[in-house]
Symmetry: none
DNA sequence: GTATTTATTTCGTGC
DNA sequence: GCACGAAGTAAATAC
């Protein structure tokens, strides 16, 4: 778990003519030039030129402490002692902005996207399959996909990018619960993942759960591109 | 060679409430929040929260093109077609700044530097050692240093900052090849690194490879320290 | 917790 | 231009 950013400390943007020295695992020097200095609420300091994409010319990662002694700003790593020394010659712009806590990135090449693709192409599970719903609610959390097979039998699908034992355990818990519902029981279980670990497969088969290896590219190929943002 | 930044295009700093979608090798989504959008002269766009150090939440690397259609900013990669869609809800700050061309980072202390220092001070390996050449070519790649010891026996040196097992494997392959050459065989092997992992050391010794821990500061001591900050 | 593998890796170097 | 290795790799995952 990454430490929560201190929301009351604003991000600080400084445009300045400066030179920079770094001493740590390596030594490095930046001659004088106008650069962007980005000081984040997490304490990190990054010195950017207007090229090399998102990567700074030099930086210090948290946990670190910035001490400004006149025009000499020293950023020292709290643990390793690595130091970044920024010598400010002229400040051309400075502003501070409160960003607040970020909800963070939702990566989707992962489970959620696989879930959507599989729901759209439910017959990947077998001919005659029909989707009941995604995120089918249960008392212990939502099942990724609930479907009915060609015979009308309920099928609970747990989707993972990489199928491991805990995913099988999770699906087992859902199946135990769903099978208590007379409107659903008996419920088949399908464990679907891009890659299923041998141990997980053994456990699944032992519990009567079927395994399905998902071909992400193939699923994406059948996708209707007109319905997507990209 | 990276394309020269277009100096007349200023870096652009935007603080905005926005949501972001990315579609490329993976799909990703950022829910609405206040973030820093950094648009550099090289065309790159980076969306930062005020944590996770220098790494943006999401970004697009050059060469790419930003097209602003009202509040929807689409950054499309010119070659792969990957797209970053930033939906702007509110702009809280915007400024542009001309940085000019950056003289760039002068690095010091990586493998290449260790190699140079050791080649210059080849007697670190033992009295009477002579350098044959750096980057001595073989069919499977160049050996970092080839030398002769005081008895004229060939010595192949593999240099790493951190000595791990794969470095020993690499040197082993070189030695196997070099020892087939009657002009060189028998060839001694030396595995030199600032830090050698115990497993790597055991493997090296087992294969008759000598280990040498490099003292970077001592090697550098022969260098003129007055020109350095650290 | 440590060790190993991945990455929208990025970045440099040699061919 | 492409293949390969290194990175102040960092971050996620296996054990």
């Amino acid at each position: 778990m990454r430490p929560a950013p201190v929301a009351c400390v604003p991000v600080r943007l400084v445009i300045a003519r400066c030179s920079v020295d770094y001493g740590g695992r390596l030594s490095a020097h930046l001659p004088s030039a106008i650069r962007l200095i980005l000081i984040k609420a997490d304490g990190s300091v990054a010195v950017h030129s207007d090229d090399r994409a998102y990567k700074p010319l030099n930086w210090m990662s948290p946990p670190c402490t910035l001490i400004a002694d006149g025009p000499q700003w020293t950023v020292r790593h709290d643990k390793t002692g690595d130091a970044l020394v920024i010598t400010i010659e002229e400040i051309l712009h400075e502003s501070r902005h409160k960003l607040g806590v970020d909800p963070g990135l939702q990566k989707d090449g992962v489970e959620a996207h696989l879930q959507r693709l599989l729901a759209e192409q439910i017959e990947t599970l077998g001919g005659g399959f029909r989707l009941v719903r995604r995120e089918f609610p249960t008392a212990i959390g939502p099942v990724d996909i609930l479907a009915r097979d060609a015979n009308g039998v309920a099928v609970a699908v747990e989707i993972k990018r990489r199928g491991e034992i805990d995913g099988v355990e999770q699906l087992t818990r859902y199946l135990g619960l769903l099978n208590r519902d007379p409107l659903l029981a008996p419920v088949r279980g399908v464990f679907a993942a891009q890659e299923i670990k041998p141990q997980a497969r053994v456990l699944a088969v032992d519990r009567g759960i079927e395994c399905l290896t998902l071909d992400y590219d193939a699923l994406r190929g059948f996708d209707d591109p007109s319905t997507r943002l990209f």
